[in-house]
């Protein structure tokens, strides 16, 4: 790969939520800002911008990642999944999203996209999590509204439903 100059924007092609997408980015542009400002996918929220709050978590090649700690140029050629990709084609919510709705696992909703993305990957690799494991995993996300209890309840319920489905 040639050296990408700081003074220019470079074409980035990647697959977002199963669709090929493209946009231009200078090397310093964070993936979080690329998703929001270049691709217009504002479901990914930006909180602390130093990897602590977890609001901007997306999946890169299926792995939960802080999009504020990755540059758009690093995501070129990769598969990125954001919260916009969770619902079905007609907008029907995923079992995880429905569990959040039923359990009031969000209030202001700022942290929710990141939490949903972490959980969507985690529940695939850990189909039978106990509460302790979930709390440990969710320590990577800050929520200032819920006190976490309904989030844990929703995650456990979603895990049960996903097990039934598979």
């Amino acid at each position: 790969m040639p050296r990408l100059s700081r003074d220019m924007r470079h074409p980035i092609r990647l697959v977002v939520n199963g669709r090929e997408m493209a946009g231009d980015a200078a090397p310093r542009l964070l993936l979080s800002d690329f998703l929001r400002h270049v691709l217009g996918l504002t479901g990914t929220h930006v909180g602390c911008e130093h990897g602590v709050c977890g609001a901007c978590t997306v999946l890169i090649d299926g792995v939960p990642t802080r999009s504020c700690l990755v540059f758009a140029v690093q995501a070129a050629g990769r598969k990125v999944d954001t919260v916009e990709g969770l619902a079905g084609p007609d907008g029907e919510l995923s079992p995880l999203q429905l569990a959040f709705q039923r359990n009031h696992a969000l209030q202001c909703g700022y942290c929710t996209p990141g939490i949903l993305m972490s959980l969507s990957a985690y529940l695939r690799t850990h189909p039978e999590p106990d509460e302790g494991a979930l709390r440990d995993m969710l320590s990577g996300h800050l929520c200032r509204c819920t006190g976490y209890t309904p989030i844990i309840r929703a995650a456990l319920e979603a895990a049960r439903e996903l097990r039934k489905e598979s």
Binding site: G51, V63, V70
Partner: protein
């Protein structure tokens, strides 16, 4: 916060990485997992001219064990190391310490060697490498050299790596028979940097205790077999040697207290699990 402008290259080989480092020196930074470097960039604590992304270098992605040590390549993530099947058997100290690094999401991307290169005085991996007397394997275009962990960390976020050198791997010595290993850490919240972390290695012949989070780098001391009041005295003397200072998280006295209590717990645990 947005990072300052830099050039970016996705390296295709170690040689290309070394050539970029030779050319740019300390104006270049290696980007692996980015879990320490990118926050530093976002805070504008560093402003390199060039980032060399080594994320695609498959030949640095291996965990290899020989009779004496486990060699972890530069792009191995903390999560991959934690999931390595030989971990509990070969490196019981790491099996205990790795879950305390950051959070699940950070470990999935953060690399083992990146944490060593970053050299945060509170970080778990530098502490474990010092405790086990591990080795950092450096390469530049001119030479390859191995540096002992004790001689590598030179201060807060500072190491003896030369600007044209990169860490290609680190080596953790394997469990020795007759030794027990224990790790204890105290942080304000799960996943936060440790206020104090302690690693202890104990056998019938003596013990080695390493402490992180106090002072500007992880430090170790070797002690003869001790127990009870003699051990408490030795831990207290070591706690004072570390020259703790007050900061807005904890006072020096509180940190010394943690060294004493976590040290006592870690030694007891290490003695209990001598194998």
């Amino acid at each position: 916060m947005k990072p300052p402008a830099f050039d970016y290259v996705r390296a295709e080989s170690v040689e290309e990485t070394l050539a970029a480092l030779a050319e740019e020196g300390d104006e270049a930074r290696i980007l692996a997992g980015g879990q320490s470097l990118v926050p530093m960039l976002n805070y504008r604590l560093v402003a390199p001219k060039l980032l060399v992304d080594i994320g695609n270098l498959g030949d640095l992605a291996a965990i290899e064990a020989d009779g004496a040590a486990v060699r972890v390549g530069a792009t191995v993530t903390q999560a991959q190391f934690l999931a390595w099947p030989g971990l509990a058997e070969s490196l019981p100290l790491l099996a205990q310490a790795l879950p305390d690094i950051g959070h699940y999401q950070i470990r999935l991307r953060g690399t083992v060697c990146g944490s060593i290169a970053h050299a945060d005085p509170s970080a778990e991996l530098p502490l474990c490498l010092v405790a086990l007397s591990g080795t950092i394997m450096l390469r530049s275009r001119r030479e390859a050299r191995d540096v002992a962990a004790d001689a590598f960390f030179s201060g807060a976020l500072s190491t003896t790596r030369a600007p044209e050198e990169m860490i290609v791997a680190v080596r953790f010595p394997k469990r020795r028979s007759g030794c027990g290993y224990a790790f204890r850490e105290f942080a304000m919240r799960r996943g936060d940097f440790a206020l104090v972390a302690v690693a202890a290695i104990a056998s019938d012949d003596g013990m080695r205790i390493a402490v992180g989070g106090v002072g500007d780098r992880p430090r170790a001391c070797d002690l003869p077999p001790l127990a009870d009041a003699a051990l408490a005295d030795a831990l207290n003397a070591f706690a004072w040697e570390l020259e703790a200072t007050d900061d807005h998280f904890a006072t020096a006295a509180y940190r010394r207290g943690l060294v004493r209590s976590l040290g006592r717990q870690a030694v007891a645990e290490a003695m209990r699990c001598r194998g």
